[in-house]
């Protein structure tokens, strides 16, 4: 299965270089990065929703396993946010002539990236497992409204002028071989992200089980308080003669 997937990625990569150029772009050859840029914000948005859903489930039930799922979703979403920014900045340089255009969509996605970063900063600052889970879940839920505003509302406001077209998908402007290439890359990246998500959740759940077992046998936990500055020093024990 893995080999088949690798073969699919290789085929899609080759195909992305073979599809005919779109003449509307300034440099049609280099504009192919769009094929890899396009799926990233879509998947980042999906994983934000997923993180929000699992956060809601955690707040509702208090089951710590939802925290593992929420954190996994947010981590993979964060990864796609970074990829969106990286590919977007490259596209901006190639097509619009500057690395950073102050384009509203670029700026709004940067803000989404900052919200993700704040989520992880909060998780890092709370040593207690239960508190970390509940507080980060509440932050993820509170951040949903601004994130949705930044992704869906802000770029479409009448006073906002963006280089990004808003009608590419809705009015079928991506068509022919280009549309097929976009769809196949989107499918492959979606499969890859689902696979990564499953691995991350499995690792998180195993970590939880190990922690529970350590607590059961009174072993030292690896999740120490980051604010704790105590140091364990060796002590000489005199031999009994």
């Amino acid at each position: 299965m893995r080999y088949l997937f690798a073969l699919g990625v290789a085929a899609a990569t080759i195909w992305s270089f073979l599809v005919p150029d779109v003449v509307e772009f300034q440099q049609p050859g280099l504009a192919r990065i769009f094929l890899w840029h396009f799926p990233c914000p879509m998947l980042a948005t999906v994983f934000i929703w997923l993180g929000g859903w699992f956060s809601y489930r955690l707040v509702k039930t208090g089951d710590i396993r939802f925290d593992v799922r929420a954190a996994a979703s947010m981590e993979i979403g964060y990864l796609f946010c970074i990829l969106t920014m990286a590919t977007g900045i490259l596209f901006s340089y190639v097509q619009w002539g500057a690395w950073w255009q102050n384009d509203p969509r670029q700026t709004s996605f940067l803000m989404v990236l900052l919200i993700y970063a704040a989520y992880f900063a909060l998780r890092g600052a709370l040593p207690d497992e239960q508190r970390r889970a509940s507080n980060s879940a509440v932050y993820a839920l509170a951040a949903l409204l601004p994130v949705m505003f930044l992704i869906f509302v802000f770029p479409r406001l009448p006073q906002v002028q963006s280089f990004h077209p808003t009608d590419s998908i809705m009015q079928g402007k991506i068509k022919g071989q280009y549309a097929w290439a976009v769809m196949s890359i989107l499918t492959l990246i979606s499969i890859l992200s689902a696979w990564l998500y499953r691995l991350r959740v499995r690792a998180g759940l195993l970590e939880l089980i190990t922690e529970d077992r350590n607590d059961e046998f009174g072993l030292e936990s690896d999740r120490r308080d980051p604010a704790d500055t105590r140091v364990v020093r060796p002590v000489r024990i005199p031999r009994e003669s």
């Binding site: 704040a118 909060l122 040593p127 508190r131 509170a142 409204l145």
Partner: protein, 223 residues
Amino acid sequence: MNRRIKAVLRKEFRSEMRTKNGLATTTLFGVFTVITISMATFDLKISPQLASGLLSVSLLFAAIVALPRTMIVEEEQGTGDLLRLVAKPEDVFWGKALYNLFFMLVTGIILTVLFLGFTGTPLAKPWLYGVCLLGSCCAFTGAVTLCGALVAQASNRTALVGVLSVPLLLPLTFLAVSGLRVAFDMKGGFNVTNGVIAGFGLVCYGFASLAGGPYLFSAVWKR
């Protein structure tokens, strides 16, 4: 407003009046901000766009300085556990949020008077300015009160509250700038409808964050 919310609100006012720390800090912060702005722009004619941006950023940072204190102080003084025993989370949230809203409105009015006085910026549409100020204060209050509760037991809470609040408040700052620039515009260069939409967007955002706040807060407060 029920009896318990009133009790929490009264407690907040009494503890503030006892020390007046928050009021003094925020007023001084407002004065310093406006003086810094007027010094930085002493030889410039401030455009409506620039004025709205400067005022919105001042409001944003005033909110981050002033509002999380109500939550953080409970954990620092060790009174949080007592409050958990005697009051429901929703009542605690509403009591503190109402106090923060009052505090934010006072800060907003002080900042406005100082800003208009020091920079000499005229106000073309006071009603729109009022709507934007009310909406900003409601939205800032809802978001920052919640962020204060989230970081109250964290290790580096003072720095962290800014890190959490700013990304949540940036979209609001954009709406505030869109509304306030119309309120400051004497020449009619900006579309009034867009300003009104932004103003009412702020109010809706504010009510939404205050309405969702108690539900989210109870998940943090009890655990």
